[in-house]
C-alpha cells in the first residue's frame, strides 16, 4: 500500500512537474498527447551533447521492429545523479515511457526507463519520478 502511494506520488510529480519546467524546444518537437509506454531492447546509449539519447528496438505484435530514438537531458545532469556509463548497455531489455515526436513519433522525449525485472527507474536520483532535465 505504502509502495503504491509512493508510486502514485511519483507519477503525480511527473505530471505536475512537467508543465512547470518546460524549457527550450520541448513544445516545438514533442506531443504530450502521444505518451507511450513500451518495452524493448537497448541498441545504443549515446552520451552526447547537447543531450543524451537512448535507442531502443521495439517489436510490435506483427513482429515489425521500430528503433526508438529517445532524447534525454545533458549527460552532465545524469553523471551528477550518480549514473555511470555501464549502468545501461546495448542488449539490455527495458520498459520506458516517452512523449512521441510531433511528426516523427518514434523520436520520443524519454520520461522514465527501467530495466525489465527491476522496479526502480534508472538515473532517477533522489527523486521518485523522473523528468528529463531537457524539459526544464
Amino acid at each position: 500500500m505504502r509502495r503504491n502511494l509512493g508510486l502514485l506520488a511519483a507519477v503525480l510529480c511527473m505530471f505536475l512537474a512537467a508543465p512547470l519546467v518546460a524549457h527550450h524546444g520541448f513544445e516545438t518537437e514533442y506531443d504530450r498527447n502521444k505518451a507511450v509506454k513500451l518495452t524493448g531492447v537497448v541498441t545504443m546509449v549515446a552520451w552526447t551533447f547537447p543531450h543524451m539519447r537512448v535507442y531502443v528496438d521495439v517489436t510490435d505484435a506483427k513482429g515489425v521492429v521500430t528503433n526508438w530514438n529517445l532524447e534525454m537531458g545533458t549527460p552532465n545532469d545524469y553523471t551528477r545523479q550518480g549514473w555511470k556509463k555501464g549502468d545501461l548497455l546495448p542488449g539490455e531489455k527495458v520498459n520506458f515511457e516517452a512523449f512521441g515526436g510531433i511528426v516523427v513519433e518514434s523520436r520520443g522525449q524519454l520520461r522514465s526507463i527501467t530495466k525489465v525485472g527491476e522496479t526502480k527507474p534508472l538515473f532517477s536520483g533522489e527523486a521518485p519520478g523522473f523528468v528529463p532535465p531537457s524539459l526544464q
Binding site: P50, E71, D77, R80, I102
Partner: protein, 280 residues
C-alpha cells in the same frame, strides 16, 4: 602582518572546507530539481558567511545556478502579465510576437542571451590575479557553446570609443568594486540573439550594469539594470538571485554541436533566429 592575514585566511578556509563538504545536500523537493546543475547547497551551509579572498575582496567563485531571466523574461523577472510589453517599443513587441520558438538561436547552439541570462547549468566567477592584482574576472558557463565565457576587465580601462568597438555576443565589460559589490558595465553587444525563448529582442544599443553581492555563502544577488534606447521604452531594473550548487559539483563540458538533432522529431528545420531588424 599581511602574511599572517593570508595564512589565517588559508587556515580558516582549510578548516571550513570539510565542514561544508560534510553537510548533506538538501533533497530536491518534487520530482524535477535534478536539473540546474544538480541539487543545491544545504540551507545550513547557505547561511554561512560569505568567504573572502586573501586580499580581503569577496570571493564570488560559486559555482552558481540560476540567477537570470532567459526562459520567460516577464515571468522570471517577477513582472505582472503584460508588463514586459510596456518596456518594449512597438517594433520590438511586434517582432517578439512574430517569432517562433523553433527559431530560438540557443536551440541552434548559439549564445543563449545577454546577461542576465539564466543558465540551467552551473556557472562560475573566476577572479584572476596577475602581478598587478585582480586584473580580470571571467564568468564561465558550463554550456560553453551557448553561454561562452565573459571577460571583465578590472584594470581600470574604459570602454573603447564607439567607432573602435566591434559589436560582439557578450559585449565589452569593465568592472570595478564599490565596497563589497562588483559592478560590471557592458556595452558593445551585437543584438543578434534573443533575451528569452519567447523572442524578446534587444539591439546593439544595449547597456547592462550588473551589481553582484554575496550576502552569504549560498547566495549571489545581482541587481541589474538593462537599458536599450533602440528597443526598450525605459530601463529595466531587476533583482536576481543565484544559488550555490552542492559543494562536490564542478563545471563540466558542454559541446552543443556534437549531436544536436533539434527539429527532426518536430518535422522542421530550425532557423537561427538571428537578427533584430525592425519589421518594415
Amino acid at each position: 602582518m599581511k602574511r599572517v592575514l593570508v595564512m589565517s585566511t588559508l587556515l580558516a578556509g582549510l578548516i571550513a572546507l570539510p565542514v561544508v563538504y560534510a553537510q548533506e545536500a538538501v533533497a530536491p523537493s518534487g520530482g524535477y530539481s535534478i536539473g540546474f546543475g544538480g541539487t543545491r547547497i544545504s540551507a545550513k551551509d547557505a547561511a554561512r558567511p560569505a568567504p573572502r579572498l586573501p586580499d580581503g575582496k569577496p570571493d564570488l567563485s560559486g559555482p552558481w545556478v540560476r540567477g537570470g531571466v532567459n526562459n520567460d523574461f516577464e515571468t522570471d523577472a517577477g513582472m505582472k502579465p503584460g508588463e514586459l510589453a510596456t518596456y518594449l517599443q512597438p517594433w520590438a513587441k511586434k517582432l517578439m510576437d512574430s517569432r517562433k520558438a523553433q527559431d530560438e538561436p540557443y536551440t541552434a547552439c548559439l549564445p543563449m542571451a545577454p546577461p542576465p541570462a539564466v543558465h540551467p547549468y552551473p556557472w562560475r566567477i573566476v577572479q584572476s590575479y596577475t602581478w598587478r592584482g585582480m586584473t580580470h574576472i571571467f564568468i564561465i558557463h558550463e554550456n560553453g557553446d551557448s553561454g561562452a565565457h565573459r571577460q571583465i576587465f578590472m584594470d581600470g580601462r574604459k570602454h573603447p570609443a564607439p567607432e573602435e568597438l566591434l559589436p560582439t555576443w557578450f559585449g565589452h565589460s569593465i568592472g570595478r568594486w564599490e565596497g563589497d559589490t562588483l559592478v560590471v558595465d557592458t556595452i558593445g553587444y551585437n543584438g543578434k540573439n534573443w533575451y528569452d525563448q519567447k523572442g524578446m529582442p534587444y539591439t546593439d544599443q544595449l547597456h547592462t550594469i550588473e551589481r553582484y553581492t554575496r550576502p552569504n555563502y549560498g547566495t549571489m544577488v545581482d541587481n541589474v539594470t538593462i537599458e536599450d534606447p533602440g528597443a526598450f521604452t525605459r530601463p529595466i531594473n531587476l533583482k536576481l538571485t543565484a544559488t550555490h550548487v552542492r559543494p562536490d559539483i564542478e563545471l563540466s563540458e558542454f559541446i552543443c554541436l556534437e549531436n544536436n538533432q533539434y527539429g527532426i522529431a518536430g518535422g522542421f528545420r530550425p532557423g537561427t533566429g538571428i537578427g533584430n531588424e525592425p519589421l518594415k
